[in-house]
Amino acid sequence: MIDEMAVLEVRHISKDYRISGENSLIAKTFHAVEDVSLSVRKGETFGIVGESGCGKSTLARLMVCLEKPTSGEVLFQGMRMDTMPEGQLRRVRPRFQMVFQDSGSSLNPRKRVQDILREPMLYHRIGNRQQVDRRVDELLEMVGLPVEMKDRYPHAFSGGQRQRICIARALSLNPDVIVLDEPVSALDVSVQAQILNLLRELQEKLGLTYVFIGHGLGAVHYVSHRIAVMYLGQIVEYGSSDELFDHPAHPYTKALLDAAPVAQVDARDRIRTSLKGEMDEEPPRGACPLFNRCPFADASCEKFENRMREIAPGHFTVCSRAKEG
């Protein structure tokens, strides 16, 4: 997956966590992310979906270098980020920002909104005091918050407003890429739509690139140009948003789509793909990770190769039984 237009790229990236037992004699390794490669193109929104615990948040933290990968590479505009020395990395960091799910803990409760926004800009010398103060007002306006609210503390805001402040902070350093880790999952449905629209507006206005992580398929479909589906730390399928929704190829994607409720009466009787069992069931050695749970699995699935296959232009999956065309 070498891509000329890539801004943010990960290559064969893995992250293992050691889980040590109480007496730490038996140390187990948990593969949170396993051999994931993807590239995010300039100006697009790249969605990543999967159920909780599939490793999508770990992938997000790896992409913004909050964690070091166990193996693999993280590249930002062709620069190797995972091996960059701390001092140099600090100067590049403003160009890729992150917005977290829990906006409550994303803002220091003891600082006014204007200080939260101002301090990183002053440190990175975005401008002098007056310029930065003016930019605080601009940013608040841009995310749709009244400028008079800038000298309030975070607890005086609602969840949706706090998420707007987080977006303003992410924008303040003029980033190229923003990684959004479930930015709307904790919000009311009506507020979700407002935030998603705001994100789309900002993307058009500022030419931003997003990595949008979520488990709500509707939201991800709504904002993303391309989507990758993750299962047990691996990407099982990716392709353009509409293609993936109209012609899901991997049984896991199908199940994920069919599990989402549809607001249409005649859709109730549709044929659903559903999985058996639970995610933590371990598949046999060498088999497809979904082997135990897949309704279509047969003997050929016992030998699994983690390799992407292009089944339609720009549409890839690891499932060997997915039909082409």
């Binding site: 913004v64 270098c65 909050l66 990395l89 600090r90 100067r91 590049v92 960091r93 403003p94 890729f96 920002q97 992150m98 977290f100 829990d102 803990s105 994303s106 803002l107 220091n108 409760p109 003891r110 939260i116 301090e119 990183p120 440190y123 990175h124 000298d151 309030r152 503390y153 607890h155 005086a156 987080c166 902070r169 350093l173």
Partner: protein, 282 residues
């Protein structure tokens, strides 16, 4: 509530606790009286100025002790000494505890292990014994008791700060600082430290109250502040015998009352501070 300053909000929440406000006023009065002891004390606290063991009279409103010193003057000075011991011991233990707790929590690893083992070791020292040993080696007196109390009280602060730092380090606002490329000193001193000040301040009030009690206990045993310098503890020391306890209450009741009042007021103020400093209590 628009445009309220942070301090204004804290003050308003504090004022809701009626009992704490009363206690704060009493505490301020006691502190002012103690500080003004050289001005308002009618007699010297260390030189005899009247009859031996005289009950309260017009000249000596709280009576005199067994060698004729004015009890009122002695209590004023004693309160000053006890407050000084309590305050300085609290200051030392808080500074040491905050510094070690910050280092331990933020850097983790081997540094954390070393500091925490040392903390546990100090915590398991029986402090009376420590004081006895220290008193045997050094001169017992005001400064040695300040240093000793400062030394035995910091582990609580260190653990409190470390725990706070550990949880603050995982918050999204610290993660946001990292992704914004903010330097470590900003994260430590501008984000983490201000969020640990409130619990430390609350904890410090209880250390302050405990230090006053400890000073009283140690001076009562003769291991603390040494006569003729008066302290609330060694004033009580003069009331050891049964005849004093039953027959000359002016020698010990006022000193005991001042200790109780100080400790109670500090604790009430600390409780109210805990509520007032929490920004979520809006």
């Amino acid at each position: 509530m628009k445009n309220k300053t942070h301090f204004g909000m804290i003050a308003r929440r504090f004022l809701k606790h009626k009992m704490a406000v009363v206690c704060l006023v009493l505490l301020v009065i006691l502190i002012v009286l103690a500080l003004l002891a050289p001005v308002i004390a009618p007699y010297s606290p260390t030189k005899p100025s009247g009859k031996f063991s005289s009950p309260p009279t017009a000249e000596h409103i709280l009576g005199t002790d067994k060698i004729g010193r004015d009890m009122y003057s002695r209590i004023l000075y004693a309160t000053q000494v006890s407050l000084e011991v309590g305050f300085l011991a609290t200051l030392i233990s808080t500074v040491v505890g905050v510094v070690l707790g910050l280092i331990s929590g933020y850097f983790g690893g081997a540094v954390d292990k070393a500091i925490m083992s040392f903390t546990d070791m100090v915590m398991s020292f029986p402090y009376i014994l420590l004081v006895l040993v220290a008193a045997a080696i050094f001169q017992p007196g005001k400064w040695s008791i300040i240093l000793i109390l400062g030394f035995v009280d910091w582990p609580g602060v260190a653990r409190l700060v470390r725990g706070n730092v550990l949880s603050l380090r995982e918050t999204n606002f610290v993660k946001s600082d990292i992704t914004s490329g903010m330097p470590r000193r900003y994260i430590l001193f501008s984000e983490i430290l201000p969020n640990t000040i409130a619990p430390v301040l609350v904890y410090a009030t209880s250390v302050f109250a405990l230090s006053i009690l400890d000073e009283a206990a140690l001076s009562y045993l003769g291991m603390g502040v040494q006569p003729p310098t008066p302290s609330l503890g060694n004033l009580l020391n003069g009331a050891e015998s049964l005849s004093v306890l039953t027959g000359k209450p002016w020698l010990w009741v006022p000193a005991g009352a001042v200790i109780i009042l100080l400790v109670m007021c500090i604790n009430f103020v600390g409780d109210a501070l805990r509520d007032a400093l929490d920004p979520r209590n809006e």
